[in-house]
Symmetry: C2
Subunit: 200 residues, 2 copies
Protein backbone atom coordinates (compact mmCIF):
# COMPACT_ATOMS: atom_id res chain seq x y z
CA UNK A 1 0.00 0.00 0.00
CA UNK A 2 1.36 3.44 -0.90
CA UNK A 3 1.56 6.32 1.55
CA UNK A 4 -1.29 8.09 -0.23
CA UNK A 5 -3.50 5.02 -0.01
CA UNK A 6 -2.64 4.63 3.66
CA UNK A 7 -3.45 8.25 4.46
CA UNK A 8 -6.68 7.90 2.47
CA UNK A 9 -7.64 4.81 4.45
CA UNK A 10 -6.83 6.49 7.77
CA UNK A 11 -8.94 9.48 6.81
CA UNK A 12 -11.83 7.17 5.86
CA UNK A 13 -11.53 5.37 9.21
CA UNK A 14 -11.67 8.68 11.08
CA UNK A 15 -14.73 9.78 9.12
CA UNK A 16 -16.41 6.44 9.76
CA UNK A 17 -15.74 6.68 13.51
CA UNK A 18 -17.16 10.21 13.57
CA UNK A 19 -20.25 9.05 11.69
CA UNK A 20 -20.73 6.10 14.06
CA UNK A 21 -20.62 8.49 17.01
CA UNK A 22 -23.08 10.78 15.29
CA UNK A 23 -25.53 8.14 14.12
CA UNK A 24 -25.34 6.30 17.44
CA UNK A 25 -27.03 9.33 18.98
CA UNK A 26 -29.86 9.27 16.47
CA UNK A 27 -32.47 7.50 18.50
CA UNK A 28 -35.65 9.40 17.80
CA UNK A 29 -38.31 7.82 15.59
CA UNK A 30 -40.54 10.45 14.13
CA UNK A 31 -43.07 10.64 11.34
CA UNK A 32 -41.48 12.92 8.79
CA UNK A 33 -42.91 15.64 6.61
CA UNK A 34 -40.99 15.11 3.36
CA UNK A 35 -41.09 17.51 0.41
CA UNK A 36 -39.92 16.71 -3.14
CA UNK A 37 -39.77 19.89 -5.17
CA UNK A 38 -37.78 21.63 -7.90
CA UNK A 39 -38.02 21.72 -11.69
CA UNK A 40 -36.31 18.36 -12.31
CA UNK A 41 -37.84 14.94 -12.75
CA UNK A 42 -38.25 12.36 -9.99
CA UNK A 43 -40.47 14.22 -7.51
CA UNK A 44 -43.54 11.98 -7.76
CA UNK A 45 -41.41 9.07 -8.96
CA UNK A 46 -39.36 9.10 -5.75
CA UNK A 47 -42.64 9.16 -3.80
CA UNK A 48 -43.69 5.93 -5.57
CA UNK A 49 -40.30 4.51 -4.56
CA UNK A 50 -41.08 5.30 -0.91
CA UNK A 51 -44.46 3.62 -1.38
CA UNK A 52 -42.76 0.43 -2.60
CA UNK A 53 -40.24 0.59 0.24
CA UNK A 54 -43.07 0.92 2.76
CA UNK A 55 -45.08 -1.93 1.21
CA UNK A 56 -41.97 -4.11 1.47
CA UNK A 57 -42.08 -3.60 5.23
CA UNK A 58 -45.68 -4.80 5.21
CA UNK A 59 -47.12 -1.38 6.05
CA UNK A 60 -50.04 0.42 4.48
CA UNK A 61 -49.99 3.53 2.30
CA UNK A 62 -52.48 6.26 1.41
CA UNK A 63 -52.20 8.38 -1.75
CA UNK A 64 -54.09 11.55 -2.67
CA UNK A 65 -53.44 12.84 -6.18
CA UNK A 66 -54.28 16.53 -6.27
CA UNK A 67 -53.81 16.79 -10.03
CA UNK A 68 -55.23 14.18 -12.32
CA UNK A 69 -53.13 13.68 -15.42
CA UNK A 70 -54.67 13.15 -18.83
CA UNK A 71 -53.61 9.55 -19.10
CA UNK A 72 -53.62 6.58 -16.79
CA UNK A 73 -50.18 6.17 -15.29
CA UNK A 74 -48.25 2.94 -14.88
CA UNK A 75 -47.75 3.52 -11.15
CA UNK A 76 -51.49 3.93 -10.53
CA UNK A 77 -52.31 0.86 -12.58
CA UNK A 78 -49.72 -1.15 -10.62
CA UNK A 79 -50.56 0.13 -7.14
CA UNK A 80 -54.29 -0.39 -7.69
CA UNK A 81 -53.57 -4.11 -7.73
CA UNK A 82 -53.05 -3.95 -3.96
CA UNK A 83 -56.26 -2.38 -2.65
CA UNK A 84 -55.75 -3.92 0.80
CA UNK A 85 -52.35 -2.19 1.09
CA UNK A 86 -52.71 1.01 -0.93
CA UNK A 87 -55.60 3.44 -0.78
CA UNK A 88 -55.62 5.85 -3.75
CA UNK A 89 -57.84 8.90 -4.16
CA UNK A 90 -57.59 10.88 -7.38
CA UNK A 91 -58.99 14.37 -7.75
CA UNK A 92 -61.94 14.01 -10.09
CA UNK A 93 -60.88 16.10 -13.08
CA UNK A 94 -58.28 18.28 -14.75
CA UNK A 95 -57.33 21.80 -13.88
CA UNK A 96 -58.34 25.37 -14.78
CA UNK A 97 -55.70 25.73 -17.46
CA UNK A 98 -57.69 23.03 -19.23
CA UNK A 99 -61.19 23.26 -17.77
CA UNK A 100 -61.52 27.04 -17.36
CA UNK A 101 -63.56 26.47 -14.22
CA UNK A 102 -61.68 27.71 -11.21
CA UNK A 103 -64.58 27.29 -8.78
CA UNK A 104 -64.88 23.61 -9.62
CA UNK A 105 -61.10 23.15 -9.26
CA UNK A 106 -61.13 24.74 -5.82
CA UNK A 107 -63.98 22.47 -4.80
CA UNK A 108 -62.03 19.42 -5.99
CA UNK A 109 -58.90 20.60 -4.15
CA UNK A 110 -60.94 21.00 -0.94
CA UNK A 111 -62.35 17.48 -1.33
CA UNK A 112 -58.82 16.15 -1.85
CA UNK A 113 -57.63 17.97 1.27
CA UNK A 114 -60.48 16.43 3.25
CA UNK A 115 -59.25 12.99 2.12
CA UNK A 116 -55.71 13.95 3.13
CA UNK A 117 -56.92 15.09 6.57
CA UNK A 118 -58.65 11.76 7.13
CA UNK A 119 -55.67 9.69 5.95
CA UNK A 120 -53.19 11.62 8.09
CA UNK A 121 -54.96 10.50 11.25
CA UNK A 122 -55.75 6.96 10.03
CA UNK A 123 -54.11 4.56 12.54
CA UNK A 124 -53.58 1.93 9.81
CA UNK A 125 -51.38 3.99 7.50
CA UNK A 126 -47.60 4.31 7.71
CA UNK A 127 -47.07 6.68 4.77
CA UNK A 128 -49.31 9.17 2.99
CA UNK A 129 -48.40 10.73 -0.38
CA UNK A 130 -49.96 14.09 -1.22
CA UNK A 131 -49.03 14.11 -4.90
CA UNK A 132 -48.82 17.52 -6.61
CA UNK A 133 -50.18 19.33 -3.56
CA UNK A 134 -47.60 22.05 -4.28
CA UNK A 135 -49.31 22.81 -7.59
CA UNK A 136 -52.63 23.37 -5.83
CA UNK A 137 -50.91 25.71 -3.39
CA UNK A 138 -49.17 27.50 -6.23
CA UNK A 139 -52.54 28.29 -7.84
CA UNK A 140 -54.00 29.40 -4.51
CA UNK A 141 -56.68 26.74 -4.65
CA UNK A 142 -56.05 26.07 -0.96
CA UNK A 143 -54.77 28.47 1.72
CA UNK A 144 -51.31 27.41 2.94
CA UNK A 145 -52.37 28.01 6.57
CA UNK A 146 -55.09 25.39 6.26
CA UNK A 147 -52.71 22.86 4.70
CA UNK A 148 -50.17 23.47 7.47
CA UNK A 149 -52.89 22.91 10.08
CA UNK A 150 -53.76 19.56 8.46
CA UNK A 151 -50.08 18.54 8.55
CA UNK A 152 -49.77 19.73 12.14
CA UNK A 153 -52.67 17.49 13.15
CA UNK A 154 -51.23 14.33 11.57
CA UNK A 155 -50.52 11.22 13.62
CA UNK A 156 -47.02 11.85 15.04
CA UNK A 157 -45.50 8.59 13.76
CA UNK A 158 -46.95 8.79 10.24
CA UNK A 159 -44.74 9.87 7.33
CA UNK A 160 -46.09 12.19 4.65
CA UNK A 161 -44.55 13.02 1.27
CA UNK A 162 -45.62 16.15 -0.60
CA UNK A 163 -44.63 16.58 -4.24
CA UNK A 164 -44.72 19.26 -6.90
CA UNK A 165 -42.76 22.22 -8.16
CA UNK A 166 -42.63 25.52 -6.33
CA UNK A 167 -43.23 24.31 -2.79
CA UNK A 168 -44.10 27.46 -0.82
CA UNK A 169 -41.54 28.70 1.74
CA UNK A 170 -43.96 28.10 4.63
CA UNK A 171 -44.12 24.41 3.69
CA UNK A 172 -40.33 24.12 3.41
CA UNK A 173 -40.11 25.68 6.85
CA UNK A 174 -42.55 23.12 8.30
CA UNK A 175 -40.88 20.13 6.57
CA UNK A 176 -38.35 17.75 8.13
CA UNK A 177 -36.75 16.62 4.88
CA UNK A 178 -36.64 18.59 1.64
CA UNK A 179 -35.11 17.43 -1.62
CA UNK A 180 -34.92 19.61 -4.68
CA UNK A 181 -34.81 17.81 -8.01
CA UNK A 182 -32.69 19.77 -10.41
CA UNK A 183 -32.90 19.27 -14.16
CA UNK A 184 -29.44 18.84 -15.64
CA UNK A 185 -30.33 17.38 -19.04
CA UNK A 186 -33.64 16.48 -20.66
CA UNK A 187 -34.33 14.50 -23.84
CA UNK A 188 -37.48 16.49 -24.80
CA UNK A 189 -34.98 19.08 -25.96
CA UNK A 190 -33.74 16.58 -28.51
CA UNK A 191 -37.09 15.58 -30.01
CA UNK A 192 -37.76 12.49 -27.89
CA UNK A 193 -41.41 12.17 -26.90
CA UNK A 194 -42.91 11.16 -23.52
CA UNK A 195 -42.65 7.39 -23.16
CA UNK A 196 -44.51 4.78 -21.08
CA UNK A 197 -42.60 3.67 -18.00
CA UNK A 198 -40.60 6.90 -17.97
CA UNK A 199 -42.93 9.91 -18.04
CA UNK A 200 -46.17 8.10 -17.15
CA UNK B 1 -62.89 38.04 -13.92
CA UNK B 2 -60.43 40.87 -13.26
CA UNK B 3 -58.08 42.28 -15.89
CA UNK B 4 -55.12 40.64 -14.15
CA UNK B 5 -56.83 37.26 -14.18
CA UNK B 6 -57.70 37.69 -17.84
CA UNK B 7 -54.16 38.63 -18.81
CA UNK B 8 -52.89 35.66 -16.77
CA UNK B 9 -55.28 33.34 -18.58
CA UNK B 10 -54.30 34.69 -22.00
CA UNK B 11 -50.64 34.23 -21.18
CA UNK B 12 -51.33 30.64 -20.08
CA UNK B 13 -53.19 29.94 -23.33
CA UNK B 14 -50.25 31.25 -25.36
CA UNK B 15 -47.79 29.10 -23.40
CA UNK B 16 -50.03 26.07 -23.86
CA UNK B 17 -50.27 26.64 -27.63
CA UNK B 18 -46.49 26.96 -27.84
CA UNK B 19 -46.06 23.75 -25.83
CA UNK B 20 -48.54 21.90 -28.05
CA UNK B 21 -46.58 22.96 -31.13
CA UNK B 22 -43.34 21.86 -29.45
CA UNK B 23 -44.55 18.53 -28.12
CA UNK B 24 -46.36 17.74 -31.37
CA UNK B 25 -42.94 17.53 -32.97
CA UNK B 26 -41.64 15.06 -30.39
CA UNK B 27 -42.14 11.83 -32.26
CA UNK B 28 -39.02 9.86 -31.56
CA UNK B 29 -39.16 6.87 -29.20
CA UNK B 30 -35.78 6.09 -27.79
CA UNK B 31 -34.40 4.02 -24.95
CA UNK B 32 -32.97 6.58 -22.54
CA UNK B 33 -29.82 6.59 -20.45
CA UNK B 34 -31.05 8.23 -17.24
CA UNK B 35 -28.76 9.32 -14.40
CA UNK B 36 -29.90 10.20 -10.87
CA UNK B 37 -27.04 11.81 -8.99
CA UNK B 38 -26.29 14.50 -6.40
CA UNK B 39 -25.99 14.51 -2.61
CA UNK B 40 -29.74 14.59 -1.91
CA UNK B 41 -32.13 11.75 -1.24
CA UNK B 42 -34.33 10.11 -3.87
CA UNK B 43 -31.77 8.82 -6.36
CA UNK B 44 -32.42 5.09 -5.92
CA UNK B 45 -35.93 5.79 -4.66
CA UNK B 46 -36.91 7.49 -7.92
CA UNK B 47 -35.46 4.48 -9.77
CA UNK B 48 -37.85 2.20 -7.82
CA UNK B 49 -40.64 4.58 -8.86
CA UNK B 50 -39.71 4.06 -12.52
CA UNK B 51 -39.72 0.31 -11.87
CA UNK B 52 -43.29 0.51 -10.56
CA UNK B 53 -44.34 2.70 -13.47
CA UNK B 54 -42.87 0.18 -15.93
CA UNK B 55 -44.50 -2.79 -14.18
CA UNK B 56 -47.83 -0.97 -14.43
CA UNK B 57 -47.44 -1.00 -18.20
CA UNK B 58 -46.95 -4.77 -18.03
CA UNK B 59 -43.26 -4.61 -19.00
CA UNK B 60 -40.31 -6.37 -17.42
CA UNK B 61 -37.46 -4.87 -15.39
CA UNK B 62 -33.89 -5.87 -14.55
CA UNK B 63 -32.02 -4.54 -11.49
CA UNK B 64 -28.32 -4.80 -10.67
CA UNK B 65 -27.36 -3.49 -7.24
CA UNK B 66 -23.66 -2.62 -7.29
CA UNK B 67 -23.52 -1.88 -3.57
CA UNK B 68 -25.19 -4.21 -1.13
CA UNK B 69 -26.47 -2.41 1.92
CA UNK B 70 -26.18 -3.87 5.39
CA UNK B 71 -29.87 -4.47 5.80
CA UNK B 72 -32.59 -5.90 3.63
CA UNK B 73 -34.51 -3.06 2.06
CA UNK B 74 -38.26 -2.75 1.75
CA UNK B 75 -38.09 -2.23 -2.01
CA UNK B 76 -36.09 -5.43 -2.54
CA UNK B 77 -38.44 -7.42 -0.34
CA UNK B 78 -41.43 -6.07 -2.28
CA UNK B 79 -40.02 -6.43 -5.79
CA UNK B 80 -38.82 -9.97 -5.09
CA UNK B 81 -42.49 -10.95 -4.91
CA UNK B 82 -42.68 -10.59 -8.70
CA UNK B 83 -39.89 -12.85 -9.98
CA UNK B 84 -41.60 -13.22 -13.37
CA UNK B 85 -41.54 -9.42 -13.84
CA UNK B 86 -38.45 -8.27 -11.96
CA UNK B 87 -35.00 -9.80 -12.14
CA UNK B 88 -32.76 -8.62 -9.28
CA UNK B 89 -29.02 -9.25 -8.95
CA UNK B 90 -27.27 -8.03 -5.82
CA UNK B 91 -23.51 -7.74 -5.54
CA UNK B 92 -22.44 -10.40 -3.07
CA UNK B 93 -20.94 -8.36 -0.25
CA UNK B 94 -20.09 -4.97 1.21
CA UNK B 95 -17.36 -2.63 0.17
CA UNK B 96 -13.70 -1.91 0.95
CA UNK B 97 -14.54 0.76 3.49
CA UNK B 98 -15.97 -2.14 5.48
CA UNK B 99 -14.24 -5.25 4.12
CA UNK B 100 -10.74 -3.87 3.50
CA UNK B 101 -10.46 -6.15 0.49
CA UNK B 102 -10.25 -4.07 -2.64
CA UNK B 103 -9.42 -6.99 -4.95
CA UNK B 104 -12.57 -8.82 -3.91
CA UNK B 105 -14.66 -5.66 -4.39
CA UNK B 106 -13.31 -5.17 -7.90
CA UNK B 107 -14.12 -8.76 -8.72
CA UNK B 108 -17.69 -8.31 -7.46
CA UNK B 109 -18.05 -5.08 -9.46
CA UNK B 110 -16.88 -6.90 -12.59
CA UNK B 111 -19.41 -9.67 -12.01
CA UNK B 112 -22.15 -7.07 -11.54
CA UNK B 113 -21.12 -5.34 -14.78
CA UNK B 114 -21.32 -8.68 -16.61
CA UNK B 115 -24.93 -9.02 -15.37
CA UNK B 116 -25.63 -5.48 -16.53
CA UNK B 117 -24.17 -6.23 -19.97
CA UNK B 118 -26.42 -9.27 -20.33
CA UNK B 119 -29.57 -7.44 -19.15
CA UNK B 120 -28.96 -4.47 -21.44
CA UNK B 121 -29.30 -6.70 -24.49
CA UNK B 122 -32.10 -8.90 -23.10
CA UNK B 123 -35.04 -8.58 -25.54
CA UNK B 124 -37.55 -9.14 -22.71
CA UNK B 125 -36.60 -6.16 -20.56
CA UNK B 126 -37.98 -2.64 -20.89
CA UNK B 127 -36.00 -0.98 -18.08
CA UNK B 128 -32.71 -1.82 -16.35
CA UNK B 129 -31.62 -0.17 -13.08
CA UNK B 130 -27.89 -0.05 -12.35
CA UNK B 131 -28.19 0.96 -8.72
CA UNK B 132 -25.17 2.73 -7.17
CA UNK B 133 -23.04 2.17 -10.25
CA UNK B 134 -21.70 5.70 -9.74
CA UNK B 135 -20.18 4.66 -6.41
CA UNK B 136 -18.27 1.84 -8.09
CA UNK B 137 -16.99 4.30 -10.70
CA UNK B 138 -16.07 6.78 -8.01
CA UNK B 139 -13.85 4.18 -6.32
CA UNK B 140 -12.29 3.20 -9.66
CA UNK B 141 -13.50 -0.37 -9.31
CA UNK B 142 -14.47 -0.28 -12.99
CA UNK B 143 -12.99 1.79 -15.82
CA UNK B 144 -15.46 4.37 -17.10
CA UNK B 145 -14.57 3.51 -20.70
CA UNK B 146 -15.73 -0.06 -20.19
CA UNK B 147 -19.00 1.03 -18.59
CA UNK B 148 -19.65 3.45 -21.46
CA UNK B 149 -19.03 0.64 -23.95
CA UNK B 150 -21.60 -1.53 -22.14
CA UNK B 151 -24.16 1.32 -22.31
CA UNK B 152 -23.32 1.96 -25.94
CA UNK B 153 -24.08 -1.68 -26.78
CA UNK B 154 -27.51 -1.69 -25.10
CA UNK B 155 -30.67 -2.52 -27.03
CA UNK B 156 -31.69 0.84 -28.58
CA UNK B 157 -35.23 0.86 -27.18
CA UNK B 158 -34.31 -0.21 -23.63
CA UNK B 159 -34.22 2.39 -20.84
CA UNK B 160 -31.47 2.32 -18.24
CA UNK B 161 -31.30 4.21 -14.95
CA UNK B 162 -27.96 4.71 -13.20
CA UNK B 163 -27.92 5.96 -9.62
CA UNK B 164 -25.41 7.17 -7.06
CA UNK B 165 -23.57 10.30 -6.01
CA UNK B 166 -20.72 11.77 -8.00
CA UNK B 167 -21.64 10.53 -11.47
CA UNK B 168 -18.48 11.04 -13.56
CA UNK B 169 -18.58 13.76 -16.25
CA UNK B 170 -18.13 11.19 -19.04
CA UNK B 171 -21.34 9.47 -17.93
CA UNK B 172 -23.27 12.75 -17.74
CA UNK B 173 -22.06 13.48 -21.25
CA UNK B 174 -23.34 10.09 -22.50
CA UNK B 175 -26.70 10.35 -20.68
CA UNK B 176 -29.98 11.54 -22.20
CA UNK B 177 -31.61 12.62 -18.96
CA UNK B 178 -29.80 13.74 -15.81
CA UNK B 179 -31.41 14.75 -12.55
CA UNK B 180 -29.44 16.03 -9.60
CA UNK B 181 -31.01 15.49 -6.21
CA UNK B 182 -30.11 18.38 -3.95
CA UNK B 183 -30.36 18.14 -0.19
CA UNK B 184 -32.22 21.14 1.19
CA UNK B 185 -33.04 19.88 4.69
CA UNK B 186 -32.36 16.58 6.46
CA UNK B 187 -33.74 15.24 9.75
CA UNK B 188 -30.55 13.34 10.71
CA UNK B 189 -29.28 16.76 11.64
CA UNK B 190 -32.00 16.91 14.27
CA UNK B 191 -31.39 13.55 15.90
CA UNK B 192 -33.92 11.49 13.97
CA UNK B 193 -32.65 8.02 13.10
CA UNK B 194 -32.99 6.07 9.83
CA UNK B 195 -36.49 4.62 9.64
CA UNK B 196 -38.07 1.72 7.74
CA UNK B 197 -40.00 2.80 4.66
CA UNK B 198 -37.98 6.00 4.42
CA UNK B 199 -34.26 5.22 4.41
CA UNK B 200 -34.48 1.48 3.70
Amino acid sequence: MTDIEERHREKKARIKAAKDRLYGQKTREKGLVIVHTGPGKGKSTAAWGLVVRTLGHGRRVGIVQFVKGRRETGERRFLERFPELVEIRVMGHGFTWETQDRARDIEAARAALAEARRMLTDPELHLVVLDELNIVLRYDYLPIAEVLAVLEAKRPDLHVVITGRNAPPELLEAADLVTEMRLVKHPFREGVKAQPGIEY
